[in-house]
Amino acid sequence: MTATHLGMPAFPAAAREAVRDDVLRANLRRATHTIRDKRARAVTELADWDRLRAAGKAVKDHTLRHLDHYLLRLEAAVTAAGGTVHWAADATEANRIVTELVRATGEREVVKVKSMATQEIGLNEALEAAGIAAYETDLAELIVQLGHDRPSHILVPAIHRNRAEIRDVFRTEMGRWGRPAPDGLGDDPRELAEAARLHLREKFLRAKVAVSGANFMVAETGTMVVFESEGNGRMCLTLPETLISVVGIEKVVPTFRDLEIFLQTLPRSSTAERMNPYTTMWTGLGPSKGADGDGPAAFHLVLLDNGRTDTLADEVGRQALRCIRCSACLNVCPVYERAGGHAYGSVYPGPIGAILSPQLRGTGSGIDASLPYASTLCGACYEVCPVAIDIPEVLLHLRERVAQGGPVTREGIRVRIRPARGHTAERAAMRAARLLLERPGALRAGERLLSRARRLRPRRLPGPGSAWTDSRELPRPPREPFRDWWARERGGRA
């Protein structure tokens, strides 16, 4: 991953800063609790939620186990439908491919649909370096881009900004990128959305090239699927002449029918809606191969690895590749709520970020080595995950890697990493713990509530200094919050 934020401090330091920022914490708390409650209601409406969850997990596991097969099928289907498929082993390759494709059109600007994959590879920066302007069109992404900010949530990237801050950003920045904010712009969300509509409309209508990601790709048919709410996705996917989609290789599913699972679980788990306002599905250039003027005349799919195959090589860690980016795990996480999204130092914040970033990027940096400790292991993330990723299990696995070293795959090559030097991991763990214990009352209450429902079965003790568990499986530990465990196990030695 090239988009490691430069100079990013390790998680504990970054989080401590965030914990002190009262505005951020208030925004975040309000937001996460609102979505969390609504989501629970949306999920309860489906009597077969657990079965949909099990099916979603099984589809993803099956696909990952035969990833080469399904990617080749996808490639054949997309090609047959008039699209062109490119493969990128890393961020540099992906950025080069996209830059060349845009250059070949002769255009100097692109409109973009919110896409985590392109953020992960730092595509906007790469395009900018090549003299190409990339305009984010999702409202939250626009707020982040205009504010020279970083996203802090998967679904609501500007969750850390309140309406007054957004108004200020629009007032000062919109004019520099295109149509300025209307005079006397207030801070009513309706007014702000209207300002964004006007600002972006001129860009949509003239755009010749668009860049998107995708939520799913269907191997059998070559169909691409994008879920969204605002209509900016539809604008980007249907108006420009050239469409370039950059998609992680783990987003493939075998059959069109498999979408029946995720069309039910993703919107409910993500925005707590029965269905999001817009979902677009397209297959290459369509039945007329682009001749009917319905949609782009050229479609390019860039399949992105960038650490995913390394993650796939880890039998415990690979389950992180099942993630459908619903963001439910962020909204229930007591650590995310206190620390905020920026503390995770990547485009993937929260519990999923804590297990994905250190696998995609390796645990070489301070931030990546400390991410597996950014958790109380309360298990709430696993409970809500619509594809049943056992995030606590992967966290423990990664903690062990950091603390004790062991075999990992980096850029396709199997290597052995050494235990973290100079007790780096130990320090990270301690700092993370102290951070979490700073306001013990609130955390403990939240945690107890969550742990009632947990089904966490750690097989080894977390953290360094627990080498003795190597030689034997740990008996099922008592169901207690991290805080109590910490106080009992480590309290005397901190």
Binding site: R51, G231, I249, P277, P287
Partner: protein, 227 residues
């Protein structure tokens, strides 16, 4: 080595060679694992048991919940209703897909604008309203699905104008659930699933209807025999 070979090589090293099967190393051949029994599909095909009339009511309720306006009529009432809705909106121009039954707009005052392959986005932006049919609607989720059929037209015509009126025949075009919808759809066609008007919750999670897509979505259910 090409990016393709590199990525595929890494996948195979991570998983073992495909098709080796047998004891020990290697993966079972994909065919064996991909069968119906490989994935537990014991989730429900449909949630609840409804008469066609109840399904239509549910569709209407769910559409309304997401702030679409819903109207009910029959075949004879359609043209007068559409004329009224366009007049109430103050629409001077209405975009029509090539295969829209002309009788639908009998009596409408708005000037008809036909979509052509060379209609620019700017031209479409100048039109007040658009009227289309649909491929089907899903009651459980309050969704209409467009597949670019002759009475629906290109995807852009239901996107750029600020007012979309969509006609759904019930019970013929109505299914109860998402699984039933996918069974009836052709994935090679461009598909647009629409559940209420464009919306955002990006500012303090306050839901605001209408960002880039049509800010007003009106759905007309016509009771008509199945097609």
């Amino acid at each position: 080595m090409s990016g393709r070979d590199r990525v595929l090589g890494r996948i195979r090293r991570a998983l073992g060679e495909p098709g080796a099967g047998g004891a020990g190393t290697g993966r079972a051949p994909v065919e064996a694992a991909a069968g119906e029994d490989g994935i537990p599909r014991d989730y429900l095909r449909v949630h609840g048991d409804r008469t066609p009339a109840e399904s239509a009511d549910l569709l209407a309720a769910h559409l309304r919940e997401y702030r679409a306006k819903v109207h009910r009529t029959d075949e004879d009432g359609l043209a007068p209703l559409l004329a009224r809705l366009l007049a109430a909106r103050g629409a001077r121009t209405v975009l029509v897909p090539p295969g829209l039954p002309p009788s639908w707009l009998d009596g409408a005052q708005a000037v008809r604008v036909e979509d052509r392959a060379d209609s620019t986005p700017y031209a479409l932006d100048a039109v007040d309203s658009v009227v289309t049919g649909c491929a089907l609607a899903v009651a459980e989720t309050g969704t209409i699905v467009l597949d670019g059929g002759p009475d629906q037209g290109r995807r852009r015509i239901t996107l750029i104008p600020d007012h979309h009126i969509c006609v759904v025949r019930v019970p013929g075009q109505l299914v109860d659930s998402v699984p039933q919808a996918l069974e009836r759809l052709d994935p090679t066609r461009p598909l647009t699933w629409i559940s209420g008007p464009s919306a955002t919750s990006d500012i303090e999670l306050d839901r605001v209807e209408g960002v880039h897509g049509p800010r007003t979505l009106e759905v007309v259910l016509i009771d008509a025999p199945a097609q």
